[in-house]
């Protein structure tokens, strides 16, 4: 069994008060997790708590192996279009870690070109990031994630603005990353069919019904809590 990267132990997440029941989950190297839930269900709050951006309300997040590299792709709405950055500048940010930014850098890190090429976005390298379509931006952010060479990557709806083909390619790329480099990937997605095809593990979060279900994708999609919120999984998967 591969090594544990992050462990949620009786974890309660929220702002001032818990919004979900306690979460227990273990993420291992090489796993691809999909996070399922309706808008406002607590997915992003759970993400931010695992990443240390929000303090837990209760329980704890354990990182059994010290010195792990984490990377995060937030929801698309957080980026300010005022910033004059090229796509390659954004990808280069992925190569920063800790205090590395004070070290002089001559030329572009090689990971930038490699990552942009791997996601099929090299032609976007010299385009202003703010002028890209949402789908193109998300490909560039995938490249930034790859350039950061993480042990654990968390992506908050990275395929939300992509068409069906681009969305499938993005999942194939994430699948390739975890198989090739052994990193763990946790991704929030509403595309259940594709998610079920690629994911090893799934977690369903629902604030309104106070539900947390952790298991294989089939276990989660077949759970009573999931069916109560979404209806029949087969029908939903058939639509994406």
């Amino acid at each position: 069994m591969s090594r544990e990267l992050i462990r949620c132990v009786d974890l309660r997440v929220g702002y001032r008060e818990a919004i979900l029941p306690a979460i227990d989950a273990v993420v291992r190297a090489g796993e691809l997790w999909v996070v399922i839930g309706r808008n406002g269900s607590g997915k992003t709050t759970w993400f931010k708590t695992m990443l240390g951006l929000n303090p837990p309300i209760g329980g704890r997040v354990e990182r059994p192996a010290p010195g792990l590299r984490f990377s995060y792709v937030p929801q698309r709405s957080v980026y300010d279009d005022l910033f004059p950055l090229l796509a390659r500048d954004v990808v280069a940010m992925g190569t920063e870690r800790g205090g590395s930014f004070v070290m002089p850098r001559f030329g572009e890190p090689p990971q930038v070109r490699r990552a942009l090429s791997d996601v099929g976005a090299w032609d976007l390298a010299d385009r202003p990031f703010r002028q890209l379509s949402e789908g193109q931006k998300q490909r560039v952010l995938l490249a930034r994630l790859a350039a950061s060479e993480p042990d654990l990557a968390l992506l908050d709806e990275p395929t939300a603005a992509m068409d069906v083909v681009a969305e499938r390619e993005a999942f194939e790329y994430l699948d390739h990353l975890r198989r090739d480099r052994g990193l763990a990937v946790i991704v929030v997605s509403h595309f259940l069919g594709v998610a079920r095809e690629f994911a090893d593990r799934a977690i369903f979060l629902e604030r309104d019904t106070q539900s947390v279900v952790v298991g294989t994708p089939d276990e989660v999609l077949g759970s009573r809590a999931f069916r109560h919120s979404f209806g029949d999984a087969e029908e939903l998967c058939a639509h994406g």
Binding site: L51, S71, Y72, Y79, D80, L82
Partner: protein, 283 residues
């Protein structure tokens, strides 16, 4: 019209050192604040510089107040720096914890500093002539000491900003991802505001509130309209600031106008010149 200033008059004044220090100070302040202003504008906090320069003015007034009423002589520049740094502590407050916006906190800080400077100025008005010049400096009369201070502090601030450039940009663009990748985002935030406060306070003391506010906003706006990449925006903004500082003084000399306002208007004219260029370009 025979009394109109000429280049010969300017050259003679330069030789004597009358115009050299104010022009160089204007150029240096414009260069440093033009560069820093890009970060201020990108973070949508242009009134930070106004609030900090008002706080610096309050600091200067306080040092005079202490000298007049307590008898202890303090350096006005020290008062400016201390109050400007205290103002940055206000920015360190997370406004959401007070259920307020950052903009509202800025307004509060600005109004309080402004009112404080007026109240204290009222108590030292009898002893001090040209109170506004004492409070906010004057771009006409810049001493060599002011020039040296602006050069030393401005140069140091610029150097530190260049050193941490990639960190400042990442933390400003995508704060959460920067934190996840281990960058000291809060320290970078604090450092950026402290450095900006230092630059604003010493330049405010030397030149005055108006040109300092103008240099910290308008050159950055011009550069952001012209360039699509930060590595070009920053030097362009610094150059536009330097031109505004120097050319503004020269315009004021020949047209016999107030210097600070002329520097601000030159910065505005440069921005205005950039508008058709921006509109003519697509993307």
């Amino acid at each position: 019209m025979d009394d109109a200033p000429t280049w010969a008059d300017f050259a003679a004044g330069w030789e004597l050192g009358i115009y050299r220090d104010p022009v160089l100070c204007g150029v240096l302040a414009g260069l440093v604040l033009g560069y820093l202003g890009v970060f201020v504008v990108l973070r949508r906090m242009v009134f930070v510089t106004a609030a900090v320069s008002q706080a610096a003015g309050l600091g200067v007034a306080l040092t005079f107040f202490v000298e007049v009423h307590v008898g202890t002589a303090l350096d006005p520049a020290l008062g400016a720096v201390v109050l400007a740094l205290l103002m940055t502590a206000v920015f360190a407050i997370d406004p959401e914890r007070l259920r307020l916006s950052r903009e509202a906190i800025l307004g509060l800080a600005y109004i309080t500093s402004w009112a404080g400077a007026i109240l204290i100025g009222d108590r030292i008005a009898q002893e001090a002539h040209e109170i506004s010049a004492i409070l906010f400096g004057t771009a006409v009369l810049v001493s060599t000491r002011d020039l040296v201070l602006v050069a030393a502090v401005g140069g140091g601030v610029l150097l530190l900003f260049l050193l941490g450039h990639r960190g400042f940009v990442f933390a400003a663009f995508d704060r959460e991802s920067a934190r996840v990748q281990g960058l000291p985002v809060r320290a970078l935030d604090l450092a950026s505001w402290v450095l900006i406060a230092l630059a604003v306070s010493v330049t405010t003391r030397a030149l005055g509130v108006l040109p300092v506010f103008a240099f910290a906003v308008l050159p950055a706006m011009s550069a952001l309209m012209l360039a699509n990449r930060l590595r070009w925006v920053l030097p362009l903004a610094a150059a536009a600031g330097a031109v505004s500082g120097g050319a503004g003084y020269i315009v004021a000399f020949f047209l016999e106008l107030p210097v600070g306002a002329s520097q601000a208007i030159v910065a505005f004219a440069l921005w205005l010149a950039c508008v058709p260029v921006r509109l003519a370009r697509r993307g």
